[in-house]
């Protein structure tokens, strides 16, 4: 665990020593703010409900997570620090977990910085705190899965740009895929399989304030799966 934290600490230090982390978090806050207040016209609608605000989070996360994870492995490769990292006494699991933890922490920081939004809104009307907490939980869980996917793609990518583009495409596909079944009028097993793999589909009940263990399990197992894939890739590389 100490090793995991050492890796995560180094990542976070690097992120905040460069303007990248600030820029990513700031643009996230600005974009979601603009969406809520101007595009959705929060004050004009006059409802003490942030469902709209939370409902775009899957799409926003499809950009936020790649922006935070693109550097992760791709940057290590560019700088050659990849070799340093893999010759320090860390196991592949510790490396993957440390990097995941740092990117997830940055995503969580970005999400928690949105707390003033519901706080300010609560002055205007009565909010259901339980729903709000569930909504945050849902976003955090989805962020965990998205970050794990982003980390994995970064571990395969040659450089930051391809890591970012690749992750955005994969995440957007996973977010929007549940719209396909409705659009094509699919039904039955096909539709439910497509829905099941969608990141956004599992987020729905959270955004309504309902915690479904199936959704919980989906996000957690997606995160574990992609972390495992990253670690497996690192181990395999040694033999090639």
């Amino acid at each position: 665990m100490k090793n995991v934290l050492a890796i995560a600490r180094r990542e976070i230090k690097s992120a905040f020593n460069s303007p990248v982390a600030y820029a990513v978090i700031l643009s996230y806050l600005v974009f979601t703010g603009i969406y809520l207040y101007f595009i959705r016209g929060f004050y004009a609608v006059g409802q003490a409900d942030l469902r709209d605000y939370f409902s775009i989070m899957p799409v926003v996360l499809a950009f936020l997570a790649p922006a935070l994870t693109m550097r992760s492995w791709a940057e290590e490769r560019r700088l050659g620090t990849y070799e340093l990292l893999l010759t320090l006494p860390f196991t592949e699991g510790q490396l993957v977990l440390g990097k995941f933890l740092s990117s997830f922490a940055l995503a969580a920081i970005a999400l928690l910085l949105t707390i003033p939004v519901p706080l300010m809104a609560s002055l205007l009307g009565s909010f259901d705190t339980g729903v709000l907490i569930t909504q945050y939980l849902g976003v955090l869980l989805e962020a965990a899965a998205a970050v794990a996917i982003g980390e994995w793609i970064s571990s395969l990518a040659k450089n930051q740009v391809s890591a970012f583009v690749g992750s955005v495409l994969v995440l957007l596909a996973l977010v929007l895929v549940d719209k396909v079944s409705g659009f094509l009028g699919l039904g039955g097993v096909v539709a439910s399989v497509i829905d099941w793999i969608s990141l956004a589909f599992h987020y729905d009940s959270f955004s309504r304030g309902v915690i479904d263990t199936r959704d919980l399990a989906y996000y957690l197992s997606a995160a574990v799966l992609f972390l495992y894939l990253s670690a497996w890739g690192l181990t395999r590389r040694k033999w090639s």
Binding site: N3, K13, S14, N17, L79, E83, L84, S240
Partner: protein, 319 residues
């Protein structure tokens, strides 16, 4: 203590190292020498647990790198050729990370940091960001990272590239002193470096060992002959090259020319002197005295490592 047994490593079907075996004892500095692509870096990457061998074994202090890479990594300090550093960190943040990675804590951590910073001359730049450092300081920071945890094994891939002459001398001095208590393996293509700091040398060519031994031994083994440069003052105005044949044991005359009317310069090929034999210089001297000539200069030309290197790596191409 490092031991390689029949080490082979291929990358995607292409074999880079073809069955290399050697051992390096504690308290020695082993130089790996060879042209680019000879397999130096590959061997180092196997010894640091970055790559696993395709076949054969690599033992670091008796631990197999493929079986327990973490135990090996703990014992090894490594400076890769590219000197990888995190650009966004300051020097002390970077070393802090290395100390974390090595599990250094408490007073021993502070002592280790101070020792590494002192030994590599980094005390003036600890607050600087890595990206603002000069090439020389980066190299020193990489080395500080490698020696931070006082590892019993040090693996240095071209440790003095990019340094100025004063820094090179300092770093060589540091490596030599580290080599007294550790096993140090360094790769280089600077031959003076090998002569200056290595206790033994392995010359690699195309993934095979072309020669190994102490730097002086390699020279001896390859020499097979002794070359003597001679500058003579002839008493008479004419000097006949044929007179040189009077030298006992002379094999051939590589060159002979008159520098001026009275001075002749010649290069003689003599058999190598084995212990007990008369040295080449001695027979030249005796001949000159007997012929009534005056020796102005008599120089035994050593075959430099450069020449050995070129000889070996070119001969190796036919194999």
């Amino acid at each position: 203590m490092i031991e390689l047994r029949e080490l082979r490593k291929s990358y995607g079907g292409v074999e880079a190292v073809h069955g290399v075996s050697f051992a390096a004892e504690t308290g020695s500095v082993l130089g790996l020498l060879g042209p680019n692509g000879a397999g130096k870096t590959t061997i180092m990457k196997v010894l640091t647990g970055y790559h696993f061998p395709s076949s054969g074994t690599a033992l670091v202090d008796g631990v197999d790198v493929a079986e327990d890479p973490i135990a090996v990594k703990r014992r090894v300090g490594y400076l890769p050729e590219s000197v990888p550093l995190y650009q966004d960190l300051t020097v002390s943040e970077y070393l802090d990370f290395a100390a974390d990675a090595r599990g250094l804590e408490g007073p021993s951590r502070a002592a280790a940091l101070e020792r590494a910073i002192g030994a590599c001359g980094l005390s003036g730049v600890t607050r600087k960001k890595v990206e603002d450092l000069s090439k020389g300081y980066r190299q020193r920071l990489g080395l500080a990272q490698a020696i931070l945890h006082d590892p019993p094994i040090l693996i240095l891939d071209e440790p003095t590239t990019g340094l100025d002459p004063n820094q090179i001398i300092e770093i060589r001095e540091l490596i030599r002193s580290l080599g007294k208590s550790k096993t140090v393996i360094l790769s280089t293509h600077i031959l003076q470096e090998v002569e200056a700091i290595c206790s033994s040398v392995i010359i690699l060519n195309e993934g095979r060992i072309a020669a190994q031994g102490a730097p002086s031994e390699i020279g001896e083994a390859l020499k097979g002959e002794e070359r003597i440069r001679l500058r003579l003052k002839t008493v008479s105005a004419t000097f006949d090259q044929g007179r040189l044949s009077g030298i006992t044991g002379l094999r051939s005359v590589a060159s002979c020319r008159a520098e001026s009317a009275e001075v002749v310069v010649a290069e003689l090929v003599m058999p190598p002197a084995k212990s007990g034999d008369i040295e080449a210089g001695e027979s030249v001297f005796d001949w000159a005295v007997a012929s009534g000539l005056k020796i102005l200069e008599l120089e035994r030309r050593r075959l430099s490592l450069e020449e050995i290197f070129v000889k070996l790596t070119q001969e190796g191409e036919g194999r």
